[in-house]
Point group: D4
C-alpha cells in the first residue's frame, strides 16, 4: 500500500516540508521525492562539475540536463506527482514536469491558489485533484493510504 510521490514546482515556500511533516505525523507509508531545491546549486551544477561556459545558454543547458538526470528519474518512478504553482517567476519547469508525468501516464495533483485557475486550466483538467493547501494534499494522501481489507 506504499506510495512514492514526487513534489514538483515552487521552491520558495515551505510546502514540501508541510507535506512531508503531514506524512510523518500520520505515519503514512509514502516515500517523498523532490528536486534539488537549492536555487544556486541547481543553476550552477553544470559549470561547477563539468567546467565553465562562456555563454549563458550552454551554462544553463548543462545544469538543466544534470538536474534532469534526477527529476526525470523521480517522476518516472512515482505513483503520483504533486505540482505546486505560486505567484512568482514563470515556473515553466513546473508545467513541463506536469506534462512529462501526464505523457508517462502518471497521475498528478496540482496545488495552487484559485487566482491561478484560468492559466492552469489545462493542467488542472489533467489532474486527479486540485488542491489549494498542502494540508489538503496530506488529507488526500491519508485517505488513499487507508489499509486494504
Amino acid at each position: 500500500m506504499a506510495y512514492t510521490i514526487y513534489l514538483s514546482g515552487e521552491i520558495h515556500s515551505d510546502w514540501r516540508e508541510k507535506i512531508s511533516q503531514g506524512i510523518q505525523q500520520s505515519n503514512l507509508d509514502i516515500e517523498v521525492l523532490s528536486p534539488i531545491t537549492n536555487h544556486d546549486s541547481s543553476d550552477n551544477v553544470g559549470s561547477n562539475i563539468l567546467g565553465n561556459e562562456t555563454s549563458n545558454f550552454w551554462k544553463d543547458h548543462k545544469s538543466a540536463k544534470i538536474n534532469a538526470l534526477r527529476t526525470n528519474n523521480f517522476i518516472s518512478r512515482s505513483d503520483i506527482v504533486v505540482i505546486k504553482f505560486g505567484d512568482q517567476y514563470k515556473q515553466w519547469n513546473a508545467a513541463f514536469e506536469a506534462g512529462i508525468a501526464t505523457g508517462l501516464g502518471i497521475p498528478i495533483i496540482t496545488l495552487h491558489s484559485p487566482d491561478l485557475t484560468h492559466p492552469l486550466k489545462e493542467i488542472d483538467a489533467a489532474a486527479l485533484a486540485v488542491a489549494e493547501t498542502p494540508e489538503q494534499v496530506v488529507e488526500i494522501l491519508k485517505y488513499i493510504s487507508q489499509p486494504s481489507k
Copy 2:
C-alpha cells in the same frame, strides 16, 4: 519522408502562418497540426456545447478537456512538436504540452527570444533544436526533408 508537426503555444502572433507558408513555399511534405487558436472559442467551448457552469473553475475545466481531445491527439500523432513561447501571459499550457510530448518520447523544437533562456532552460535542454525565429524552424524542416538516397 513525410512529417507531421504540431505547433504548440503562443496564439497572439503569426508564427504559425509563417511556418505554414515556409512549408508551402518549399513544397515540403509536412502536415501541420495546431490547436484551436481562437481564444474566445477555446475558452467557452465547454459552456457553449455542454451547458453553463456557475463556477469559473468548472467552466474552464469543461473547455480545457474538450480542447485536450484535440491537442493530446495531435501531439501523439506528431513526429515533431514545435513550441513557441512569447513575452506575454503565463503560457503554462505551452510548457505542459512540451512536457507531454517529452513524456511520450516525441522530439520537440522550442522557439523563443534569447531573453527567455533562463526560465526555459529545462525545456530547451529536452529540445532537439532551440530556434529564435519561425524562419529557422522552416530551415530545419527543409533540411530534414531532403530526399533519401
Copy 3:
C-alpha cells in the same frame, strides 16, 4: 486532421445514426466504427459459426470472444471512444469497453441522461466530455475538427 471514433454501448436507440448523420452533414473527416448492433446475430454468432453448446455459459462465451475480435480491434485503433448508457439492461459491456479504452490510454466521451450521474461517476471522471445528447457529441466533433492553421 482525420479522427477515428468507436461508438460503444446502447443498441436500442438510434444515437449512432444521429452521430453518423451529424458527421456526414458537417462533412467531418471522421471514420465511425461500431460493434455488431444486431442483438440476435451478436448473441448467437459463436454457435452459428463454430457449433452448438449445451450450456448457456459456453454459448455466450464463444459469441463474446468472436465479438471481441471486432470490438477490441476497433477500440484500439480509435482516437476517441464514445460510450452511451441508457436506462435499460445492465450494460456492463459498455462500462467494460470504457475501461478497456481507459486502460489503453484512449480518451472517452460518455453520453447519458443526468439521472445516471451517480452510478457513472467513475467513468465520467475518466472522460474528457460528458454529453447528454448525440447532438452535443456532434458539436464536440465539429469543434475539434476545425482545420489547423
Copy 4:
C-alpha cells in the same frame, strides 16, 4: 512467487474478508489490495477534503477522481484483479475496472452468480477464471501459489 491481487466490485457483502481469510489461513504470500469500501466516505471524500460543490455532478466528480488515485494505482500494480458482481446496484464501476485491467494486460478473475452469466459474457470471456464463490477464488490462489521446483 508472491502475488499482488486487487479485489474490485461489490462492497455490500463480506467476500473480500473471505478471500483475505482464506489467504491467511493457507499462509499464501499474496498482498491484497482493495478500494475504500466505506460508501459514505468514498462518496464524500471530494467535498470533505477539497470543499463543497453546489452540483451533484461535480461533487461526485471530485470524489471519483480522488478514489481513482488509489484504485488505478492498485490495479496497475496487481498481478491479478478479482471482480465481484452482485445482484444490486448498477455496478458500472466494477465493469469499468475490469476493463482498465484488461486494457493494461492484467489478467482478471470474475466472481458472480450464474444468474449473471448473460450480461457478464464479455467480461467473463476476457477472464482467466469465472468463479461463483470466494472459496473458489482462494482455491485458485492456493493452486497457483505452489512452490516452484
Copy 5:
C-alpha cells in the same frame, strides 16, 4: 474497417488458399499475409544468399533468421493471427508464432482438428476463436467485417 491477418502454421495443405478465396468471394477488405510456404526455399535461404555453412545448426540458423525478418514483421502488423495445426511434423514454429502474437497482445484464432484439443489447450485458451475448418475462419471474418452503423 479493414483488417490485416497473418496465416501461420501448416504449409502442406491448401487452407491458406481457401481462406484467401473466401475473402475474395465475399469482397472482404482484408489483407492476407503469409510466410514463405515453399519448404526448400525457406530452409535454404540462408545458405543460398549468405553462403554455405558446414554445420546444419548454423545453416538452419541463418535461414530461420531471414525468415524471421518477414514473419515477425507480419505478425506485428496484423490485427489477427490465424494459426493452423495439422497432424504431421512437430510444428513448433506454429506454436512459437502463436506465442509471439500473444506476447504482443495480438488476438489469435486457432484452426485444427478436435483430435488435437488436448496438446493445444494452452494455445486454444489464449485464442478468441477455435475453428476446425477454413470455412469457419472465413465466416468469422465475414461476421466481423460487417459495416459500422
Copy 6:
C-alpha cells in the same frame, strides 16, 4: 545482480532439479520459477475447483486458463526464460511459452538434444543460447552472475 528465471517445458525429466541444484551449489542469487509440473493436477485443476464439464474441450480450457494465471505471470516477471524440449509428446505449450517470452522481449535459452535442431530452428534463432544439458545452463548462469566491478 539477482536474476529471476522461469523454467518452461518438459515435465517428465529432472532437468529443473538439476538447474536448481546447480544454482544452489554455486550460491547464485537467482530465483527459479516453474509451472505446476504435476500432470494430473495441472490437467484437472479447472474441474476440480470450478466444477465439471461435459466436454473435454471446456475441461481443458478451464484448466489451461488457471495455469495461465501462473505461467504468464512468471514469464513476464522473468529476466530469462529457459525452455526444455524432449523427444516425447507434442510440447506445443513449450514452444508457445517461448513465443510469449519473445513477444514480450524477454530473452530465452533453449535446452534440447541436437536431434531436434531442425524443427526448433526458429526458436533457437530467437534464443541467446542453445544448450544441450542442464549443466551448460548452470554454467551460463554462473558466468552471467559474476559480481560487477
Copy 7:
C-alpha cells in the same frame, strides 16, 4: 507487404545506391530512408541555421541534434534497419543507430567485410542477417518481399 528500411552508416561508398537500384530493378515495394549523407552539410547544419558557436563541442552538438530529428524518426518508422560498417573512421554513430534500433525492437541487418567480425560481434549477434555485399541485402529483401498466398 510493403517494407520501410533505413540505411545507416558509411557515407563514403555507393552501397546505398546499389541497394536502391536493386530494389527498383526488382520492383520491390520498399521505401528507402537514409540520413543526410553530405558530410559538410551534416556537420555544419547547426551553425548554418541556428548561428555560430565558439566551441567545437557545441557546434557539433547543435548539428547532431538537428540530424537526430531526422534519423531517430526514420529509425523508429522502419521495419528493418541496415547498417554498413567500413574500414575508415570511427563510425560510432553507425553502432549507436544499430543500438537505438535494437532498443526499439526493430530488426537489423549488418553489412560489412569479414575483417570486421570480431569488433562487430555484439552487433552481429543482435542482427537477423550479416551480409558482406549490398547485393546480398537486395537478395534478402527480394526473398522477404515475395507475395503472400
Copy 8:
C-alpha cells in the same frame, strides 16, 4: 533515492574502480553494474560452455549472445548508463550499448577525452552529461543523490 547505474565501454583502464570507490567513499545508495571485463573470458565463453566452433564468426557469435544475456538485462534495469570511450580499439560495442539505452529511453552519461568530441557528437548529443573524468561522474552522482526534502 537509490539509483542503479551500468558502466559500459572501455575495459582497459581503471575508470570503473574509480567510480565505484567514489560511490563508496561518499556512501551513495547506488548499485553499480558492469559487464564481464575479463577480455579472454568474455571472448571465449561461448566455446567454453557450449562447445567449439570451426569458424571465428560463430565462435564470436555464441560468446556475444551469452554476454548479451547479462548486458541487455543490466542496461534495462539501470536508471543511468555511463559509457566510457578510450583511444584504443574500435569500441563499437560501447556505442551500441549507448544506443540500446537510448532506444529504451534510459538516460546516458558519456565519459571521454575532448579529442573524441567529433566522432562522438551524436552520442554526446543524446547524453544528459558529457564528462572527461571518472571524478566528474562521481560528482554528478553525488549531486543527484542528495536527500529529498
